[in-house]
Structure formats: structure tokens, C-alpha cells
Symmetry: D2
Subunit: 299 residues, 4 copies
């Protein structure tokens, strides 16, 4: 049985199975309708191993705009430079891990050493950028970084090659922030301009564009994708995937339905929320959609 | 029965009741031990009505540093200027709400009109700031805003009065971001410097300070609090309250235990995670702790 | 600040705080309106330490009918006979615990030894019952057990004293089931009649009675309470408290809203669902309601 | 890409993806090792459309023992007699549905009318059974029902054909309970013997058998599967799939790890817990396992 066939059978099951089936149809419809697609994801998805899939989607020009958090940028660069993250378990002995220099994110394990190699790379990269100009919008900086990498599984690399801008509204919120700070201490006229980057995401699509949002997980990344489309008249399509529940009132748990009240998605939108682990839900829906897009000659 | 007595009885119950009891003890211990306290919260908690409690905590100098998201700043200012948010329900008809100009966040309802009044206020405030200087760290800007307000229930007002800095690493991720962008269009030399603000949060405490983290909800706010203490040697105390589960691998669900592997909290730390709605859990634990601090003459 | 005052302030907060406030009002209204109250709970709540509160509620004649699972019966008897359960933590080393003869339920620890004492007591109790008659409805048997205990903190004891029947539709699903089986091997004409007990719960209230359901947690206990009221015309009042989400489609996550489609609660019902840990939510709402009932002279 | 290939790639992803990959391997190992398999599921999974898969698994003799709740029995019979359940949505207007005679379970819709046809069938079936003998263990009764059906997608039918006993410890907890009660009113010597059925499940496997538990969802069904294997020395293999979190202390959220402390699964067991919607997780893992069993000639 193929993934595509299984996602089809989900159309006959209840609960989240049919929601996943709907989500896949909306993913498909976004592309058929030539919508501009905002793909937002949290850094733990890059940690978890979805990095290669995101990079592949960029190389296929599925998303037009990416939005993520600083940790995702950092880990993408670390992995492009050869770092590997092991999979352990959720109930590991954390004191023991710390003594071994291993950092845990859920059931994933990251070596402290990898962060040191990252430091060397980023300082050199910032020097190169600084020589070009002093004031950088975040997405410009991330594109420069991408062009310095050489890894077809890297999100930054593929996005840079295909001119897919990456927005990261909280760029300082990771080790990267510390390196930016140290660099600015040396070069006080070095400026990371988050305000002008907000202009960039706004001008990235127009009121007339049909817009689609694929929000994986929650947090700032999801909120930013919704905000950016809202200010341009709202999205026509939206797929949210999350483990959070709407009863918490959090952005992670906010549903596509709530978005209608904000004009965040248009009333007539094709919108679905799937509750579940994105590491399982997203590959299922996306790969099934890609298979159909290929059949239709839309890839 | 007083709240304090009830939280005491939770010490004899299982599941999250005893975790809440532990959390209250850690809150108490942080203050007794004179730790520098980082309080992080997401904007939905300000929406939900915890704003007054956060403002009161600032006026009592309970937290030394606040970390939050842009929406919280925006709503604090809106409420200081007289806006009121109604409580509705999670299953409201969102299309109908949109037609009425009402925006929904969980079971809370916000009028579109309120956002227009906010626009007037913020543009005037930015003009005043711009006259003083051109380049602002985020926390400096938020302090200026606080000094312009006049509402004892306002977080920005109380924090400004008591010199509690407010950090907001993703300052553009709300309507506020749009206003900053429009203002910068008019004044291209106006700069919001997120990088130097990362220096401010780092220098806000030292390696030698005992540090405590109270992280309500997850997202960037929680991560930033943990990161800032980690780079100064780690927190000694940590209380996380969240509705998210650790099995998702998200920052919202990350437990105090995981933080040990990162050196994010020190191994010997007094740390507890309470799973549940912060609107209920935090007032319970905090008010019980305040009652005891008062008895001990520590308020 | 009293618990009652805190629950009042929850009326001004969003998310689950206001739902808890509503729940408390419905608890109050049920009694004022003289409704027949079905209280259902799962066995883990007895493990967790809510046993004393349930017993106290029976002694105050708050519920008219109890519904629970076999584990709750077993643990109530064990505790009445002096057994104590320790509180440990969710991430204990389970292999080590097993070697020590300790059994874990969440963060609660139970000694294997306690089960042996239970065996002695139950076999003697069954002999006494068998001498009276051969065929027992479950609730009759549980009343006999209650009358043999002598512990004011025991649910079975207080329920028996106050003529509150206890229904347990899956009576064999615990160690108790094994003892019943061994006893029946010796006395093949000993019959536990679950079918006639279904008649007892049906006849426990009439179509004309106003009925209220307080369902703590989910599972069979909750379903049975809803079913029994439905077959008598539906409940007028319902309060559900659970950690499960409605998106799972499970009975534990089923909301009071869904119940309307089944006629399980009447359309005009006063009904609320609170998402959160029952060990915290229920004492808060119930104690606040009891304080008001006392003020009104209704206790 | 086939389902089997996708489940293989999950072995390289974090969070629940790798847990699902592990779960699939344990399912495979159970059969290779010739373990006796207990498959437990809650009635909402039959509602949701997994009925056909469960029936197919019985016809392949994958499980040796089934454990479920009364609603699953009822719906299996209703569907075997031609009833169809529609898929709607979680936020339907429940009062409107009730007026139309539609009952909602999550996003599934059931017609009231179907329950009336069920009544006719079950009363006739009970008459036939009663003519054979007066006292029935539950699993004997369910086998009789299965033999009266004629639907290859029916769980009861396939289980009866293949001699897979179905245990249902809370047989009265559904409309079926009401019909049993009415029947017993007419025939007071008609007895449904739950106690002797507990003996049947115990004798269904021996201490020497290797045992495996597949627990889908929680509640009584899961607990009963664990209890029955525990009393025979514990399971060697266990796969739990659930949306509930262990922090709640509920049986639904109880993990395979906790089971080790109870001796419920043997210490050396191959055990995994997958957090997520069973309608998606179980078909993925099971179909991937079936494909491999077929390759190995084990089907």
C-alpha cells in the first residue's frame, strides 16, 4: 500500500484521520491554485529530522516564504557542517547526559562540541557579511549564510538557491544571538534590522495574491505567518498541524477556525487543523500531496 | 479555607496537585534565597486577565526581569488606555464574530476598534522616543512606553516604575511590528536594536547571582529566559507551568528535567514542572507563596 | 484570600479559569435545585488522595449515586484497612521499583504487600455475603462491604451509612475480579449480577427527577453516568472535568456540548467542561461550592 | 512511496515518529516469536472506522484475544446490519443535531433510528441464546452473536469464525445493557456471568505462553488486557497507543514504562508507547508490519 493510498483511506476514518486527509487536499489545492505559500515551523522540527524534507520542498519551490525560529537556523548550519544528532529517549538521565556534554531536546541528543564548531563558522560568516554592508535585514543575512553552505539537505542552502526568503523574527533567541552580540561589541555599527524585515515579509506578497499558510507547530513562527498574510488581506488556504489543544488559548493550540474571527484566513478559505505529532502527520500529508502533484505535472 | 491552606493540602494529593505544591515552595525559596527572578509569559496570559497579577508582582519587585512576546506589550497598552476584552466561548461562530469586528483568542473576544486607538497612541509615543535618540534597544523602548502610561494595573507602567526591564525578542511579531515598520519608513535612521538588547539581558545578571526562572507557557519567552540564565551559568531554581506535553518535543512542553541536560538549570536546582492551565495554576501557587512571604516579612 | 474568593476572581480570567468558575456555579445550582446527583470518578482519583473528599461528600449527602471502577473499590478497602500510598515521581526507575515490590500509578507508589492483606479481607467478606444469599447485584455487594468497614474517610463506609448506592459496571477489572473468580470456583452458585444492577441504576432516579452529572475523568464511569441519566430523560446539569481533549474522540475527552447531540444532557442544561487535572480542579470548585452552600444553609 | 518505506524513514526522525517505528517492530516481533496477542480497543475506534481493520486482523488470526467495551459490540452489530455512520465535524451545532435525531461522537454522526433496528435484532438473538442455556459468560454470548451475523467486515463475525474470544468486562455500559435488563425482567433466570468470564480470560493463556499486549486507547479495555497478562506472569511485548498524557495519572495515559513497576510487562520486554491519534498511528504501524509478515511468509 502506498502512502497516497493510505491517506486516501483516511478519508473514511473519523477523528484526526479524516482531518489529515482534508489537510492533504488543501496542500494540493494551494499549489493547483497557484497560491503563495508561507511555511512556518519551529526549531524542534529541524532537530527532529524534518530538515531534509523542508530543504527538498524548497528545492521543489513548494513554499514561497519560510518562517522559523533561531534554533532552526543554528541547527541547519551545524548539520550542513557535518554535525549529527542522535535519537535517545524522553526519560534519559539528564544529569548524566550533562556530564557527558550531551544536550537533550525531547528524545533527541545534541553534543556540546557541535556548538563550538558553529561558533567558528558563524563569526567568519558575519565578517564576510559585514564587509559588504553594515545594516542587514534578517532575511538578507540568512540568504548570505545559505549561499556559504554546500549541502543539498540544508534548508538555508536550498532556500538561498531558489530565492525563498527565510524570516526569523526572534533571531537573537539562540546561541546565534550571543554570537551576534559579541560581533556587535567589536563592530558597534553592525545592525540587524528586524523592523525593515517586517517590511520585507509584507511586500513578499500582495493583496491580490492568493495566499496559503502551512503552520507546523505553534509559537512565533505560526503567529508571524498568520500576521503577515492577515496584513495582506488574509490567507485563502490554511493547514495547521500541532500537538497543542485549543482549550489552552495558546497560539500553538489556536485553530484554523479561530483565525476566521481575526480575518486571518478568509471566510471562504479551505482550512484544516490536524492535531498530532508533526514528525508523522506532515510527511504523510505532504508526500501524498507531492505524489499527486507529480501525476498532475505540477511539480 | 484559604488558598494557602488548599495549596498545603495539595502536598498530600498525587498527579499535578503535588507538583503545584512543590512549585509554590520553589517560588518561596527563590525569594528567601534572594535569587534574581526571570518571569516569562506568553501574550495570551495578558489577554486572559493575568495582566493585573503580573503588574502587581512588578510593584512588589518579585521578578527582576520580564520576558514576553509582542502581543502582550500591545494588549497591555490597549488595556491601559481603557480597552476591555470580553470572555466568550471556545466554540463561537467565527465568521459571525469577524463580521461584527470581534477577534477571538481562545474564549476571549477583542474588538477591532481597539487596535485603531492603539495605532494613534503608539505613533505618538514613537515620535517622542525618536526625538531623544535614533537607536533603541527593545527594553529601553518598552521602559519609555511604560513611563508614558498611567495605570497601576499595567505591566509596562509598574515595570518602568520599579526598574524591571522587559525583554521582547520578537518585537515585530504583532500589530506593533507594523507600526514600527511604518515609522521607520518615515524615519529610515530609526533603529530597533535586538542584538544590543541581548547584551542587556545577559548583563542583567551575573555568573555569581543565584538565578530563578518562572516560565509560564512556552514559546520564545520561555526559551529566552532559559537561554539568558544558561549563558550566565544556569538557573538554581525553575518553575515551568504549561499545558503542553513533553512527548511533543516542543519548547512549550520541555520540562525542567530536560533543562538539566543542557546545563540550563543547575543539577542541584529546585525545579518543578506543573502541567495545567496557567490561568488557574499560577494564581494558586503565587498567591499562596505571597501569603507566606508576607508572614515572613519578605514582601 | 479564601478558596471561594479565588474561584470568584476566576470569573474574570479567560481559558479554563472561567470554565472552573462556571463549573462551581453549576455544582451550586444542582443542589439549590434539589437535583439528583450522579458523581462518577476513575480509580486513579482514589489513588491520588481524593478519597477523603469523596467520602466527606457522601457524608454530606452531596451525591445521590456514585459510579466508579473496580480499582477504586479495592483501594478504598485497602486504605480503610490501614494501607498508605506514597507519592514519588513520574520518572521513577520502574524496574527498580518492581524489584522492591512497589507498583507505580503516575507519581503514586503502592506496595505489593497491601494487596495480600486485601485478599484476606475480601475472601472473608464474600463468605459473609454468600451466607446471606447467592445472587448479588454489584451495588448490593458494595453496600455490604461498606458496612463491614469502619473508617470515616472511606467512600464505601460513608456511602453505605448514607444509603448512597455505588455502581461499578466493570467489577471484575481489578484484583477484586480475581478474588471473585476464585470464590465462584468454590461456590459455583455464587452470582454477581451486573444486569440487574443496570436496573437498579435506572430505577435510582425517575424521568421526573432533575438530574445532574459530575463526571471526573472519563472511561466507563463517565459513560455510565451519562447513559443512566439519558435513559431517564437526560441530565439538567452536567460538569465534566478531564485532561483529555475532544479531538481524540474518546469518552474521556467528550465534552458537555457533544452530550447535547445525544440528548444525554437536556438542551437547556447548565453544563460546563473544565480541562485540567482533577486533583486540582475538583477540590477548588467543590470546596468553593460547599462554602456557599453552607452560607445558604443548604448543607 | 509505500507505507512500509515511510514507517522505515520514521526510524530516522525524532519525537513520536521513531516511537511509531519501534512500535511497528514490536508488532512484528510478537508474531515472529509466536506470542499470544491481546488486542484491546475502545468503542470510539469502531465508531471511527477501524472496525474493518480489526475484523481483517481477526481473519488473519493476528490477535488471539480481543478486549473492548460494550459500545463497540453494539456498533459492530449495527454496522453488520447495514447501518452507516457519517463523518461531520467536531464543532457541529449539537442542539440542531439532536433535533434531527443525529448523535455525535467526536466528528462522527450516528442516527437514532439505527438504535431501534439494533433493538429488534438483539432481542431475537437473546431469545435464541436463552433457549440454549440460562447462564452465559459474556464471551460465550458474543461468540453466539458473531455466528448470527453475516458480514466479513464485522469484528464479531470474524472473531467467531476464527475462535478469537471477545471479552467485554463492562457489558452493560451501552444500550445493550438496557436490552439485557429488559430481557432479564422477562426471564429472571437469565444470567450474564462476568465472574466466570474473568476465569475464561485467565485460562485463555498460560504462564508459559509468551504474551503480547496491543492496547489502543485506554480505559477498562487497556486495563483488562494488562491485568489478564499480569496474572499469568506478565507480557513480554507491549505496544500502547493513546492520545492521553502520563502526567494525568490515568489508565489511558499510563505508559509501558509504568507497567514495568507492576510486573504488568516483564522487565526485559520489548515495549513502546506511541502518543497520537490511533486512527492514524495504528493503520500505519500495523499495515507496515503486515507487509513484512507477508514477505516473511508469516501470514
Amino acid at each position: 500500500m502506498t502512502v497516497s493510498e493510505m491517506v486516501n483511506t483516511f478519508g473514511n476514518l473519523g477523528y484526526q484521520a479524516i482531518e489529515l486527509n482534508h489537510a492533504q487536499k488543501v496542500l494540493l489545492q494551494m499549489k493547483r491554485d497557484n497560491a503563495k505559500i508561507f511555511l512556518s515551523f519551529t526549531s524542534n522540527m529541524v532537530t527532529s529530522g524534518l530538515r531534509g524534507l523542508f530543504a527538498q520542498l524548497c528545492s521543489l519551490k513548494i513554499p514561497n516564504i519560510l518562517i522559523t525560529t533561531s534554533g532552526a537556523i543554528e541547527e541547519d548550519i551545524m548539520k550542513a557542517n557535518g554535525e549529527k544528532f542522535d535519537i535517545g529517549n524522553f526519560d534519559a538521565d539528564d544529569v548524566e547526559l550533562h556530564e557527558k556534554g550531551i544536550n537533550r531536546v525531547g528524545n533527541l541528543m545534541i553534543n556540546t562540541e557541535g556548538y563550538m564548531k558553529f561558533e567558528d563558522w558563524i563569526l567568519e560568516a558575519l565578517e564576510k557579511c559585514y564587509k559588504k554592508k553594515k545594516r542587514w535585514a534578517v532575511s538578507e543575512l540568512l540568504k548570505e549564510f545559505g549561499l556559504m553552505l554546500n549541502d543539498t539537505n540544508s534548508i538555508l542552502y536550498q532556500a538561498a538557491k531558489k530565492d525563498v526568503p527565510i524570516f526569523c523574527p526572534a533571531i537573537t533567541d539562540a546561541g546565534l544571538g550571543f554570537h551576534l552580540y559579541l560581533f556587535q561589541q567589536k563592530h558597534p555599527d553592525f545592525i540587524v534590522d528586524v523592523v525593515s524585515d517586517f517590511g520585507n515579509i509584507l511586500l513578499g506578497t500582495s493583496m491580490d495574491d492568493k495566499k496559503g499558510v502551512i503552520a507546523l507547530g505553534g509559537s512565533i513562527s505560526k503567529h508571524h505567518a498568520i500576521l503577515a498574510t492577515l496584513l495582506n488581506g488574509g490567507a485563502k488556504y490554511a493547514v495547521y498541524m500541532t500537538t497543542a489543544s485549543k482549550t489552552s488559548g495558546s497560539m500553538s493550540g489556536a485553530t484554523t477556525s479561530e483565525a476566521k474571527s481575526w480575518g486571518k484566513v478568509k471566510d471562504e478559505s479551505d482550512i484544516f487543523t490536524v492535531i498530532g505529532d508533526v514528525t508523522i502527520m506532515f510527511p504523510l500529508a505532504m508526500i501524498a500531496a507531492l505524489e499527486k502533484l507529480e501525476e498532475e505535472g505540477l511539480l
